[in-house]
Symmetry: C2
Subunit: 399 residues, 2 copies
């Protein structure tokens, strides 16, 4: 039995990023760039006015108020055609190119329009360079503006548009197959008989993976027989990740581990000192990584977050594969039963600028309803004996 | 000119949730429930074994070690057929129904299998009720398990599956149309001439809205003429939200506000004491809410987060329409130029269990590249004069 930290490190070290694919940049949101990107333009592309006003020679305004002759009217998207000489000004809009000769823009509020006489009065002196953004100030032709490994958010989409990258290389998101095992399971559309329950893990695991952009295929429910499990697993070997739910504890009807071994799956670990979720198998068959997770709904939920989450992030090329851990002040005492790392569904809130956390009330690892009250996982370390109110504890916020 | 807080409150008070729609539960991830949900089953559906082991009468183990006769073998998904009487036990798997008569489950590790003689040795006494989850302990038939207004996450998907809710009522996500205005704009596939830039705001705004599940339609680029703007706006009136980018500052070529008034749009506000982003118009034409945002990329990005984000959340039925604000310790001094609320793209990090924040270096509100270094918005309040290193400031983390 290995520690949670060791198990997570094994997952992280074993899995490599998936192949790169080229997609339209608009679809890249949530993916990770697989190439550096250079700008093909200067931004601004010219000395640009940051204000609506008048482009002038700063020197001319030294003894303001002063009147200047307006020689042109420059809108954004149009280039100036006249050079500004001493005694002259050009009316200019925000975003337009500053005409040759001019070296400052006086905003409208500091001028008085004398348009009947085609002249403008500049009310106050202005410094050279004022209200002008220099060509190439934000980015220059050839400059590396986005790097391999960066996650694509709205801002990066904006930059990709700016530099005209309509197709981008990103790391692929994994294909994920999910198999739910158990004689007791029926599908959502059916009414369970007294010995049955509906398959919930398949769907919650699918949601956990889809949220990360994985392409999920729910392969369905199989009975607790070696034959059914192995025939469905063969379908799963077409996927980058195969998740099995249930069938991994100690009983003789828990067969997933046996079937994995029959397939000559390379097993990296099969028991983790963890609560909930001790029986977790991580293996690899050909190019498919297999996670066999416990059938208890909360254990299934938690072990996905601990092991499958970083696996998907790593495959997608992200540098930061783990969620942030933060510290919060515990709102209620926790008695620790055994010396095994524990992840408790918990409610995290901000109160007086401090993070406060309390484990949600639950009846154990089958109680999925309790997790609907949770927005985080509270970590109880192996060496903890009793956690008291007000103590700082580690918490992983979930979205 | 109104304050940011007032403007946000106007948006929040004006917008109402959109109509309810019924969708397959698997597609409900990220939406908000529009109905309360009752369970149609007890969970567990029977007194359930929490362990692999032997179902016994606790009283029989008082003088353990003791040998019992094994009368049945109960797998998960199968109902027991025999009642356990004194001196008897049934072998049972995790998740299976505890047979009548038995009132505790002894786990395998605390037994010794004497299977040749069809008997089992119980090594230690056990308390009544141990390792049994009582029928209905987690949820009961008719119990309200999910409430109207709850966001659907992976956990809720699991609950919906558990209670067989294959179709669910959620509040609709808005349809969003986006128009980019400006003579200087060309589309991403084109190489801008010297007076032009590519349309980036349209795409970054689309990404900001899509991330929230809105159905986005990029209506395209229009020139700075009343005719083009108004003819495109008419297409936009088919949407729940119409966003215009650019064309809202003071210059004579900034026409969006004029066109909105020509359409008899109800205007709620048109200037907000905000930096970047003073010119922001919020209005309503028939059933379409219109946000006219500034053309500067950073101002466009920030004003979406401040005004459009809560609008979409409110339409989608969420109770919490705003992002969390937290406090962080400032890593570098900030000199405040003017008494207007400022939102600075900033980098937030956790260091020694404290949030630390530093504004990213930028050249002003056209510098979208700077925002790729940012993961948050740092709030500079109206009354701030100088923010010093180590001071606590408010920060809005972005995802």
């Amino acid at each position: 039995m290995i520690s949670v930290d060791t198990a997570i490190k094994i997952v992280e070290d074993t899995i490599k990023p998936l192949p790169v694919k080229t997609i339209p940049f608009e679809n890249a949101l949530g993916f990770c760039l697989a190439e550096d990107m250079q700008s093909d333009i200067d931004m601004p592309p010219f000395n640009r006015s940051a204000m609506d006003g008048y482009a002038v020679i700063a020197e001319d305004t030294a003894n303001a108020p002063v009147e200047l002759t307006v020689i042109e009217d420059i809108a954004a998207g149009h280039m100036p055609t006249k050079k500004v000489s001493h005694g002259q000004a050009s009316k200019i809009m925000t975003g337009a190119a500053v005409p040759a000769g001019a070296d400052a823009v006086v905003k409208f509020e500091e001028t008085e329009d004398l348009s009947v006489s085609n002249r403008v009065k500049i009310l106050r002196p202005i410094d050279k360079g004022r209200n002008i953004s220099s060509r190439g100030e934000d980015m220059q032709v050839g400059q590396k503006v986005l790097c391999k490994g960066m996650p694509v958010r709205s801002q990066e989409i904006g930059i990709l548009a700016t530099i005209g990258k309509s197709q981008v290389k990103v790391f692929s998101a994994p294909t994920v197959g999910i198999i739910s095992t158990g004689d007791e399971l029926v599908d959502v559309g059916l009414k369970p008989s007294v010995a049955q329950i509906r398959n919930s893990n398949g769907y919650s695991l699918a949601a956990q993976a889809r949220r990360m952009h994985a392409e999920v295929d729910l392969l369905g429910i199989v009975k607790d027989t070696k034959e059914e499990i192995s025939s469905m697993m063969q379908w799963g070997f077409r996927k980058d990740i195969l998740i099995l739910s249930g069938g991994v504890s100690m009983g003789e009807y828990d067969l997933v581990g046996d079937v994995m071994k029959d397939f000559n799956t390379r097993i990296y670990f099969e028991k983790v000192a963890l609560r909930p979720g001790k029986p977790v198998i991580f293996g690899k068959k050909d190019t498919t990584f297999i996670f066999a997770l416990p059938g208890n709904p909360v254990a299934s939920f938690v072990t996905f977050e601990l092991f499958v989450y970083p696996a998907i992030r790593k495959m997608m090329g992200f540098t930061h594969v783990h969620r942030t851990t933060l510290q919060a002040s515990l709102e209620t005492e926790i008695l620790v039963k055994r010396k095994r790392r524990e992840y408790r569904p918990a409610f995290l809130r901000m109160h007086n600028n401090t993070w406060m956390v309390s484990p949600v009330e639950w009846h154990g690892s089958a109680d999925l309803l309790a997790t609907t009250m949770a927005n985080s996982l509270l970590i109880v370390r192996e060496d903890a004996e009793r956690l008291v109110t007000g103590q700082l504890v580690d918490v992983i916020p979930l979205e």
